[in-house]
């Protein structure tokens, strides 16, 4: 059986032309080492383009690599992908003649998940799915079993490593992409075969990741077999009234279609969910649920008619029949992903409404001359644009424009500065409330809060909204647009200190050396863990032993928790002690808030339906 027939047999589909091109290239790098970049719009069959050459080895018995390591940015994406790959393995085992029971048993063993929670980080097995942080820690000799510093590194070096959804590895200081770039360089030097999969990426980001000189595999205009998706119409509205929102949802549900609403913040997602939940079978999904509840919701997502979510659903969610997507304006790459959730199958039709996040109509009306939504309609040339922490206005966009001034018959170039803040900025909000903003000649504002995103990226993404449906189909146009949106972001970005220390750390990793003392951060954002518990206070008083269940934890950002910390009236810390029976967990009153710790909160602050309530 050749690879094409193999593919047909395990997927019941004909391969796309680009997938065949990908397989040829991946086959080569599996033998010789190297990189393959696959750049395909959403719902285009990227996973199969990447993994089929590895899976085909089960049939051909010509093993070029013993293992596939599939790296994803989040655990929930890992959970989804595990099932998909396990199903392919089952079909392979059936082809090889294994009995039904054996197929089930072996498929579980062949596909392993590595989160680094158990003390292994060994990356052993045939197919290993993991998150980026776990992968990095293994590679960087952190938290390995015993002192096996070289073992996980060897397991990685032997494998075909697939990095999926790499557009999600961005952060404000580009720490993560730089770290990936560093790791990629090391892996390439060691001849490790690497596959990078993404929707469109800005050119500069590709440079940081170290994949810019690879010609990406994508759909060519002359391809006859190519992924085709449904038709999507994108509309932009500053705001959707409650009535309009309800009418749009009812219409879609009456047509038998699903509705997906994506908000930029957890609070606004909860707010919308409360408004729409009575219109149909609804489900709310965001990051502030316990591991167990979130997994349950992800399982139930197919049954829901209305899904309200935050950016947790941006990638990897393959729902059929989504006929209506209502999304907050978001950075262009996220927006393309969100729109990509709509009408994913050929023949489906869908509508996307992009709205401004919590747009404030009154403020907009009262200060119209000060409002800025995008740069497109502001006439300025040769401006230097950057994001600054201004001493008067806080975190704002700064525009420096060169003006020519005449003085005593002589003309002189004088730089003038203008600032643009957003409603997420406290100073700006205060100036508006006190009616003082109109007097500030150099200050303008965006009439909504851009959080959690960079206001500059939001303004520049707004400029692209009217063409966004084209970007869904045309990867070149999408890349050009992303380069426009992220131009200043990359030009102004300064390499963070953390990256240099990580660079030195990697350089110091040697055989026969213990790893240097260094807290390598795979995620730039500090986090803490919350654990809702019934009668927590009583349990502390009675010095009760707690049965700690990792499924009940909620990982939250440290900054978020710092802001909310005082609002939790009683909070405790988890203490783990070892005695002859094993680990014993108990509680004590929480001391000063610190990142990476586990804090117990009373269960009145948690609801299975809406998550943390504070």
């Amino acid at each position: 059986m050749d690879i094409i027939n193999f593919f047909k047999q395990i997927t019941d589909h004909e391969p796309y032309d680009y997938q065949i091109r990908a397989w040829e290239k991946i086959n080569k790098i599996m033998e010789l080492g190297g990189r393959v970049v696959i750049e395909i719009p959403t719902a285009g069959g990227k996973t199969e383009a990447a993994i089929i050459p590895y899976l085909y080895q089960f049939i051909s018995n010509d093993w070029k690599v013993p293992r596939l390591i599939y790296v994803l940015p989040t655990r929930s994406l890992v959970e989804k992908q595990v099932e998909r790959i396990r199903n392919y393995i089952k079909k392979i085992l059936e082809i090889k003649g294994y009995s039904k029971d054996k197929v089930e048993e072996l498929a579980k063993k062949i596909v392993q998940v590595e989160y680094g929670l158990e003390e292994t980080h060994a990356f052993l097995g045939f197919v290993v799915l993991t998150t980026w942080d776990t992968f990095l820690y293994g590679l960087a000799a952190h938290r390995t079993v015993g002192d096996r510093f070289t073992f996980p590194c060897g397991a990685i070096a032997q494998s075909l490593v697939v990095f999926d959804e790499i557009q999600m590895y961005q952060d404000e200081s580009l720490y993560m992409p730089r770290l990936i770039g560093l790791v990629v360089k090391r892996l390439v030097e060691a001849n490790v075969p690497l596959v990078f999969m993404t929707a469109t990426l800005p050119t500069e980001l590709k440079k940081i990741l170290g994949i810019h000189d690879e010609e990406p595999i994508t759909v060519n205009p002359e391809d006859t077999k190519k992924p085709e998706r449904g038709e999507v119409v994108v509309e932009f509205k500053e705001k959707l009234s409650d009535e309009e929102l309800s009418n749009e949802i009812k219409k879609a549900i009456n047509e038998g279609k699903k509705v997906l609403i994506i908000k930029n913040t957890v609070n606004s997602a909860i707010e919308v969910y409360e408004k729409v939940k009575q219109l149909g079978n609804s489900l709310l999904l965001h990051s502030r649920f316990t591991v167990e509840d979130r997994a349950e919701k992800e399982k139930d997502i197919d049954k829901a008619e209305i899904i309200v979510a935050t950016q947790v659903v941006e990638a990897g969610l393959d729902l059929t029949n989504v006929g209506l997507v209502i999304t907050d304006l978001a950075p262009l790459d996220a927006l393309i992903q969100r729109i990509g959730r709509c009408a994913r199958r050929k023949g489906e039709r869908g509508k996307v409404i992009v709205v401004l996040p919590n747009f404030n109509e009154k403020i907009n009306e009262d200060h119209r001359e000060k409002v800025i939504l995008g740069f497109k309609n502001i006439p300025f040339e040769n401006a230097y644009v950057t994001l600054v922490n201004n001493k008067d206005y806080g975190r704002v966009i700064e525009l420096t424009i060169e003006t020519i001034e005449e003085k005593k018959g002589k003309s002189k170039i004088v730089p003038k500065k203008f600032y643009i803040g957003d409603l997420g900025n406290k100073t700006i909000r205060k100036l508006i409330e006190n009616n003082k903003i109109l007097k500030k000649k150099d200050l303008y504002f965006i009439p909504y809060s851009t959080q959690p995103y960079d206001p500059l990226i939001m303004i520049k993404s707004f400029d692209e909204v009217e063409s966004v449906s084209e970007y869904l189909y045309d990867i070149i146009k999408a890349r050009e647009a992303l380069d426009r949106v992220y131009k200043e972001y990359y030009e102004n970005n300064i390499v963070p200190k953390d990256y240099y220390s990580a660079y030195i750390y990697f350089r110091e990793l040697k055989l026969f050396s213990t790893p240097p003392e260094y807290e390598l951060k795979a995620r730039p954002e500090m986090f803490a863990i919350l654990y809702p518990l019934e009668n927590a206070e009583e349990k502390v008083k009675n010095k009760e032993i707690i049965e700690f269940n990792p499924k009940y934890v909620i990982r939250v950002s440290y900054n978020w928790l710092k802001n909310k910390w005082e609002k939790f009236d009683k909070k405790f810390e988890l203490i783990k002690e070892y005695d002859e029976k094993g680990w014993i967990c108990s509680l004590k009153k929480a001391g000063k808030l610190q990142p990476y710790k586990i804090y117990i909160i009373d269960d009145k602050y948690y609801s299975k339906e809406t998550g943390i309530i504070i």
Partner: protein, 244 residues
């Protein structure tokens, strides 16, 4: 190739070195289909070009020699007599010395011999790294090497026959027969320094790791027939060992 019994040089209290190696070679024959090409690719990153048959031969030499340091007088005394203490003696350091010279003779490639010897030297990485920490050091320094080999007092009398049986060479054709303690100490220190300070030392973690994994798998499998509880890491290795 299954080796015949020649003597009772012990790898463990109740398993001879020959039995241990035989079991490992048998296991390697079962699993090698998955690793040969990946090892070939890894070695090419260091400009070492071997065909598949040579990769197989190379790995078999690592398997046969990884525990050859156990054919030392001190190790054999300690394994038979509980009163005799190893005092931190690490057999893999001695194994690496012989592996290097035999690989050099077989393949004529210093880089390949270097990589092979490093892999053998690291096949008990958790133990050697733990001992480095116990000595309050961060690296395999000259002081650590001296400590690890302080009890070494030469190889057993039948060593020459054992090597001939394992590799087919007479050890005298390869290195001077009376390699003394100083030669081995000097060699191990040089290996450690080179591993940490050559320009491509960052790459070595990947290449040596690639070879280490199947060697360690074979080592665990090859030790299964000895008495006693299986080490915990054997459970971790299980997912790697299915034959589909």
């Amino acid at each position: 190739m299954i080796l015949g019994e020649i003597m009772e040089v012990l790898a463990f209290k109740n398993q001879s070195l020959i039995d241990h190696v035989n079991d490992m070679v048998k296991y390697w024959e079962r699993i090698k289909y998955r690793y040969l090409k990946t090892i070939k690719r890894a070695l090419e990153a260091l400009n070492i070009k071997l065909d598949i048959e040579k990769v197989d031969e190379f790995m078999k030499i690592l398997i046969k020699l990884h525990d050859i340091g156990k054919a030392s007088k001190i190790y054999q005394r300690a394994i038979i007599n509980d009163q005799e203490k190893l005092m931190g003696f690490r057999h893999e350091l001695v194994s690496a010395y012989y592996t290097y010279h035999i690989l050099l003779k077989k393949f004529g490639d210093k880089n390949l011999a270097f990589i092979g010897a490093l892999t053998v030297m690291l096949h008990h990485e958790p133990i050697i790294m733990g001992q480095i920490r116990n000595l309050k050091k961060k690296e395999l320094t000259a002081e650590v090497v001296l400590d690890k080999l302080k009890k070494f007092d030469g190889m057993i009398e039948d060593f020459e026959d054992l090597i001939k049986k394992l590799i087919g060479y007479s050890i005298g054709d390869i290195i001077k027969n009376d390699s003394n303690k100083d030669d081995i100490i000097r060699f191990v220190i040089e290996m450690s320094v080179r591993a940490r300070h050559t320009p491509n030392s960052e790459k070595l973690r990947f290449i040596v790791g690639t070879l280490l994994l199947p060697l360690v798998m074979c080592d665990y499998k090859g030790a299964e027939s000895r008495e006693g509880k299986a080490p915990k890491f054997a459970e971790v290795l299980e997912v790697e060992s299915y034959v589909i």
